[in-house]
């Protein structure tokens, strides 16, 4: 069982959360000026790394707030959680 520490509610079981994909992806300011390739790059292409990945999570069955998490994808170890808009500490 994976325990996730929601930055608002504290430690809860992972079944209360939903995964929201890679974090810190910036939406292009002028989407109309992009080529289809560039737009597809923004929409679909993700790093999918082995190691520490920065992700968005939602405490969907609790406080329903979004937050970020640094998680090691190889062993599920959670290195930090931080609020939306904040920068990762490491």
């Amino acid at each position: 069982m994976l325990i996730i520490k929601c930055p608002y509610c504290g430690e809860r079981d992972h079944s209360e959360f939903s995964y929201g994909g890679e974090a810190h992806i910036i939406r292009p300011k002028q989407p109309t000026e992009l080529s289809d390739d560039q737009w597809a790059e923004y929409l679909f292409m993700r790093k999918n790394i082995k190691g520490i990945q920065y992700e968005r999570w939602n405490h969907s069955h609790g406080c329903r707030r979004w937050f970020n998490m640094a998680r090691d994808t190889s062993n599920d170890k959670i290195h930090s959680v931080y609020k939306i808009g904040e920068k990762p500490s490491n």
Binding site: Y8, C9, G10, D13, S15, E16, H61, G62, C63
Partner: protein, 189 residues
């Protein structure tokens, strides 16, 4: 409460555990920014108390209980009951006029959204533990605390008034299902 027909038609007792549906009362979902002094002071004035800021805490004054749902979200439960033909709550009018209309926050009447079960007995948390991932023994869930979690796949809000007195808020459409599940579970605790 409009056209109120409850899916729950009985009360249930097994050994020293009992549960019943609470008479429908006014429930209002309130959202706003605690950093906004205008919002805080106007809500404080209307409710006659300060919104709980601490995680999962509640504050109670006379007719109203205010529960923390998130850093900018609260559930207000008033003991106001009204007749079955109406859906007018004075508290909602006051909040709507001063908070919603002035764009300080949002006020949503959720009175008909939730069914409330009152659970009583010494083994409440043993029963709930059977279907919930929440750790009821963690020590953080004391009296007058409120949490949102999952109970047998259903989203619930659990308000612990004391170890032997708990209110459980569940969406109306799920209440029949959850009632049957708790009833069944209580038989094997």
């Amino acid at each position: 409460m409009l056209n109120f027909t409850s899916p729950i038609t009985e009360s249930h007792t097994y050994n020293n555990f009992s549960m019943k549906e609470k008479t429908p009362v006014a429930k209002i979902n309130l959202r706003g920014d605690l950093g906004n002094k205008d919002f805080v002071s106007k809500v404080g004035k209307i409710l006659g108390m300060i919104l709980p800021k601490e995680v999962c805490s509640t504050s109670t004054k006379e007719q109203i209980t205010c529960m923390w749902l998130g850093p900018n979200e609260w559930l207000l439960v008033s003991n106001d009951t009204i007749d079955k033909e109406s859906n007018d709550y004075e508290l909602e009018h006051l909040l709507f006029k001063d908070i919603s209309k002035t764009n300080l926050g949002s006020v949503t009447n959720v009175s008909d959204h939730y069914t409330v079960f009152n659970l009583a007995g010494s083994n409440i948390f043993e029963i709930l533990s059977k279907g919930s991932p929440f750790n009821f023994d963690s020590g953080t869930f004391g009296d007058n605390k409120v949490i949102q979690t999952i109970l047998n796949h259903v989203d619930v809000t659990i308000h612990r008034k004391s170890k032997e007195d708990v209110d459980l808020y569940v969406r109306r459409s799920f209440s029949d299902y959850l009632w049957a599940w708790i009833k069944d579970s209580s038989r094997f605790t």
